[in-house]
């Protein structure tokens, strides 16, 4: 009974505020409104199209970053990611496909490597049953994505298990060591102390291969682990990751 009365009281107290005509928005809701409008103005994203993304609002002091993260469909490689930075009156909208010539996607071609508003609208109007595989012919036709590694279709050959020889791993290990040193400005002595833990060659079905090189550096008070990914053909360093702070 007390619970019922409590709920009734809350409901009655809530009525006057809720009954007012003009909605009052929180600061984040207003920032979201600014960001949405910026995306609509620059990229033509309507509310229905914005609904394809998960929104994340983060405050960095006086600067607010509103990030629009793609979901699994349409494929994130096609949709890219949007970011709006808001600092006072200044609003800057950006897209990870900004380097793609707008003429490539503005016509609505689904074969475009960047899916802007026209392609997203086509996806939405396809209907929920047809959407599941709607984008598949298009994202699977894209060239291999080096950054999205590891992904399905890779098999690994490991040095640690004896499936790669010292000779085979010499070059990726040297590149990896140089990459860590260059990335973090390590002195030669520190770079020389890095212990090579393992080298894995990841090979995809289409032949594309990436070296994964793992180093361990025993320092005071704790160890530091580095993982370097290297394009096996071009030798370009794709990622260098530093990992510390493990538990247990």
């Amino acid at each position: 009974m007390r619970r019922f009365l409590l709920i009734l009281l809350i409901a009655l107290l809530a009525l006057p505020a809720l009954a007012e005509d003009a909605p009052a928005f929180s600061q984040d809701a207003l920032l979201l409104q600014s960001a949405n409008r910026a995306l609509e103005a620059r990229y033509g994203l309507t509310p229905a199209l914005l609904g394809l993304f998960d929104v994340e609002i983060t405050h960095y002091g006086d600067v607010c970053a509103v990030r629009y993260l793609p979901r699994s469909r349409p494929h994130p490689r096609l949709t890219g990611e949007y970011l709006v930075l808001i600092a006072g009156e200044q609003v800057q909208a950006m897209w990870t496909h900004d380097s793609v010539d707008p003429a490539v996607w503005q016509g609505g071609a689904l074969t475009s490597p960047a899916w802007g508003a026209p392609q997203l609208l086509a996806y939405l109007t396809a209907g929920s049953f047809d959407r599941e595989y709607f984008d598949e012919p298009y994202y699977t036709a894209l060239p291999p994505d080096r950054a999205a590694f590891p992904e399905d279709g890779f098999r690994g050959i490991e040095y640690r298990t004896g499936d790669l020889t010292e000779q085979e791993i010499a070059a990726p290990a040297a590149i990896g060591r140089a990459a860590v040193q260059a990335m973090y400005g390590l002195p030669d002595a520190a770079a020389a102390e890095m212990h090579l833990v393992n080298v894995v060659k990841y090979i995809r079905d289409d032949g594309y291969a990436v070296w994964g090189v793992h180093f361990y550096h025993s320092t005071e008070p704790d160890e530091i682990n580095y993982v370097v990914r290297i394009d096996a053909e071009s030798c370009e360093i794709l990622t260098v990751t530093v990992i510390t702070g493990g538990i247990g």
């Binding site: 709920i7 909605p23 009052a24 229905a48 394809l52 983060t58 970011l83 973090y184 538990i247």
Partner: protein
């Protein structure tokens, strides 16, 4: 051919001048710049960087590098972001401007800067769980944890129907205003009592959660999940969703 290329790479790296500048992907070059910027501005060390998950987005001529909490909860460490634009590099932290004192290294501070991270890193891996988790904010990840802490969910009943109806009407007005919907679109909004509920949080405050449906005929249904403070009527959040599959 591939072996030859690898051998060539290795040979090139043995040349001192080239060994200092290995070929890096553009994302990696941006990450290097960003690392140096936050190390310089916030005093983060290399081991401290390893506590975060870094992510690089390239947007035309601008690169955005974000560092999210990993080993230590982000609610303590905050997140870092570095904007690398043609006109300069701008590192920022979610705790920028915070009035909470953290520089002394007090682990009880709700803001963990480099002094706290250093203390964390100084401990051995086997000690960290016992030493630091007491300082980590408690999260209510499951329904059981939420209810045990005093939280509860309330469907629309005869007792709260009036307030729920007001919340539903406010939610529709909020969606119309926030997304600048036309009158025609606004008339196509609908809410249902079954999609409305009140949430009472452990700290005592209450919110209405209302799902607003927009079916304008031209595209598939768009949903708006609207959160309204039950006492003040403040619209706290609106999450939009469309494009469901199946």
């Amino acid at each position: 051919m591939k072996k030859l290329l690898m051998l060539l790479c290795a040979l090139l790296l043995t040349l001192p001048a080239l060994a200092e500048s290995p070929a890096m992907a553009p994302e990696l070059a941006a990450l290097k710049t960003a690392n140096e910027a936050i190390m310089d501005r916030y005093g983060l060390t290399l081991p401290a960087l390893g506590l975060f998950d870094a992510h690089v987005d390239l947007c035309g001529e601008t690169a955005i590098v974000t560092y999210r909490g990993g080993a230590v909860p982000e609610s303590l460490t905050g997140a870092y972001i570095v904007i690398i634009a043609p006109h300069g590099v701008q590192p920022m932290w979610t705790h920028d401007g915070s009035l909470v004192p953290w520089q002394s290294g007090d682990l009880a501070s709700p803001v963990w800067g480099m002094p706290q991270l250093q203390t964390y890193l100084n401990a051995s891996a086997s000690e960290r769980y016992a030493l630091f988790t007491p300082y980590f904010p408690q999260t209510l990840d499951t329904l059981d944890e939420f209810e045990a802490a005093g939280g509860s969910y309330h469907d629309v009943t005869s007792a709260n129907r009036g307030a729920a109806d007001s919340a539903r009407a406010l939610a529709e007005r909020a969606v119309t205003a926030l997304y600048s919907l036309t009158e025609e679109q606004s008339a196509q909004l609908s809410t249902y009592a079954g999609d409305t509920r009140m949430v009472q949080y452990p700290d005592g405050h209450r919110e209405w959660e209302v799902t607003v449906h927009l079916e304008d005929g031209s595209t598939a249904e768009t949903l708006f999940w609207v959160v309204i403070h039950a006492e003040t009527g403040l619209v706290e959040n609106i999450v939009i969703s469309s494009g469901g599959v199946g």
